[in-house]
């Protein structure tokens, strides 16, 4: 049996698992739509509103995180793993907020309409500008690869806690307290 180190609150857990699905979907949608000669129109229509949804959820999540301390990491966790855990969470929070904003800014600078769904558009947040577009378009890809790599590491680390260390870290996010 794994140890009980405490649990994330319900809001945090619901947001975590919902956003895990959304962000992983988003990364696969993004990388597919850029390459595919067939699926781009459908996927690009999904990518924009999903990105804004993630942005809004990330803001709620950040507020919840600041108001509710997460459970502590196990005391016997090696220092480098503590560092990796903290650093990767900074990267994850930073990118789940930055990616949608970079995408929105990039479409603005590219002179594209920012359509959520038919007839509903977001306003541009930057003027139409070649250099800014080129920089943001490059950044959107690079940050997506960084986010994807971090998500894969996060997933691997979570499974490592679950199956190898069995230290309650995975359970802290997987379920609530059993004793009320």
């Amino acid at each position: 049996m794994s140890r009980d180190i405490g649990h994330f609150n319900l809001t945090a857990r619901v947001l975590h698992w919902l956003m895990a699905v959304l962000i992983l979907t988003m990364l696969f949608v993004g990388v597919t739509m850029v390459a595919s000669l067939h699926w781009r129109p459908m996927l690009v229509d999904l990518h924009r509103p999903l990105g804004i949804a993630i942005l809004l959820l990330a803001v709620v999540r950040l507020v919840n995180r600041l108001r509710h301390r997460p459970p502590p990491l196990p005391a016997d966790l090696p220092a480098w793993q503590v560092f990796a855990a903290h650093a990767s969470h900074w990267v994850l929070y930073g990118l789940m907020l930055a990616m949608p904003l970079v995408g929105w800014a990039m479409l603005s600078a590219g002179g594209y309409p920012i359509q959520m769904w038919k007839g509903v558009l977001l306003p541009p947040i930057l003027p139409h500008d070649v250099a800014v577009y080129a920089a943001l378009r490059g950044a959107h890809s690079v940050l997506a690869y960084v986010l994807f790599a971090t998500v894969v590491l996060h997933l691997s680390a979570a499974l490592f806690h679950l199956w190898v260390r069995r230290d309650g870290v995975f359970q802290a996010m997987a379920r609530g307290r059993k004793d009320h």
Partner: protein, 371 residues
């Protein structure tokens, strides 16, 4: 209370952990992570050499001619134009798009010639094109890129790629291999028909007296929700005048641009937008087959162009005329060429914007810095 519990739990393990072999679990984790990474890489087009992506298709187009950094990969030479579009009630009856209701919708456009040479001779290009961006007062946009040919040369994305590949010059001769071109014609009846069109259709003397055809099918959605599969064309109000081979040979490098500037000096140049409705059994998703001539046609509006600018530094230069940027009331179809165009235009746009931004596109970006 809960704070106390957390701290205690963090300090001392409840019970000794049961013995288990970590190696198998670590292998399983590596397998899961590896599978996720592999799936991502495959979808990105990084694995599988034979998979055609927007990137490999754009590479193929680039291989058909010399490199011209900062320019569009196709229809590279052109001018920016602007004016207005006035929709008609007949158009408004078919589509709920604001563009058919608003008075004098502002239009930014581009008139161009086919091919990837931004310095080519205007009069020697068989294909001429018109791209438009119509922005209504509700912020919605309609972008369209039309051509002087009446149907697409090939029916599918694969055929489009084969045709583009056949156009890559043979290093020995510097020209496309005629045998490869003949093979495409033999394989695709529409490619033969296109060749016939190119050979026999009369050339006009101007961008202004040329027809421009959307070629791909779209859906018009009316206010009551009813839908029609449509194709649109812009037909010039000016009279057709034929241009002989001799005249073309003598024409200056920028003949079409110079001629169009002269016309604009006399006043607006106009086209009517004709929307053709698909009949029963018409192939919606095959742009290589023109619909029969007796299909119902509706005059949906009139385009008036009033001004022209060089593309370098012009307002149209940094616009991607993606044919799937559509307002509500107009939607795409499953026409595969339409999706492929959208994908390749986007990749081409990203490449040339990057070239301009990084200073690799000296002639294409002339005037860009001044803006």
């Amino acid at each position: 209370m809960s704070l106390f519990r957390y701290t205690r739990a963090g300090r001392e393990p409840d019970a000794p952990r049961p013995p288990h072999s970590p190696l198998l679990w670590i292998a399983l984790i590596a397998l899961i992570a590896g599978a996720v990474v592999l799936a991502f890489a495959w979808l990105a087009g990084w694995l599988g050499r034979d998979r055609t992506t927007a990137q490999t298709f754009t590479d193929t187009i680039e291989a058909t001619g010399a490199n011209h950094p900062g320019f569009r990969r196709a229809h590279s030479k052109g001018v920016c134009v602007s004016g207005t579009f006035q929709g008609s009630p007949d158009g408004a009856a078919l589509s709920s798009a604001r563009v058919f209701r608003q008075q004098q919708v502002p239009v930014l456009g581009r008139l161009s010639i086919g091919g990837g040479d931004p310095h080519g001779a205007d009069a020697s290009a068989r294909v001429r094109s018109m791209a438009l961006q119509l922005v209504t007062d509700d912020g919605q946009e309609w972008r369209t890129a039309m051509n002087s040919f009446p149907f697409f040369a090939v029916p599918t994305t694969e055929a489009f790629l084969e045709q583009t590949r056949a156009g890559i010059p043979d290093p020995a001769t510097g020209k496309p291999d005629p045998a490869k071109m003949a093979a495409i014609a033999a394989k695709y009846p529409s490619a033969r028909a296109f060749g016939e069109w190119a050979k026999t259709a009369p050339w006009s003397t101007s961008w202004a007296n040329t027809d421009y055809n959307g070629v791909n099918s779209f859906r018009f959605i009316a206010t009551d929700g009813s839908e029609h599969a449509v194709r649109w064309s812009l037909r010039p109000q000016g009279a057709f005048e034929a241009m002989s081979g001799e005249q073309r040979a003598q024409a200056g490098l920028d003949y079409l641009a110079d001629e169009f500037a002269q016309r604009l000096a006399q006043g607006p140049v106009r086209w009517d937008m004709w929307v053709t409705l698909a009949g029963d059994g018409d192939d919606i998703n095959d742009p290589s087959i023109a619909w029969p001539g007796d299909r119902r046609r509706v005059k949906a509006g009139t385009l008036s162009l009033t001004a022209m600018q060089p593309q370098a530094g012009g307002a149209c230069n940094n616009v991607n005329f993606d044919p799937l940027i559509l307002p509500s009331g107009i939607a795409g179809t499953d026409d595969p060429i339409l999706a492929a165009r959208s994908a390749v235009y986007s990749e081409s746009f990203n490449r040339r914007e990057r070239e301009v931004a990084s200073g690799k596109a000296t002639d294409a970006a002339a005037g860009e810095k001044a803006r």
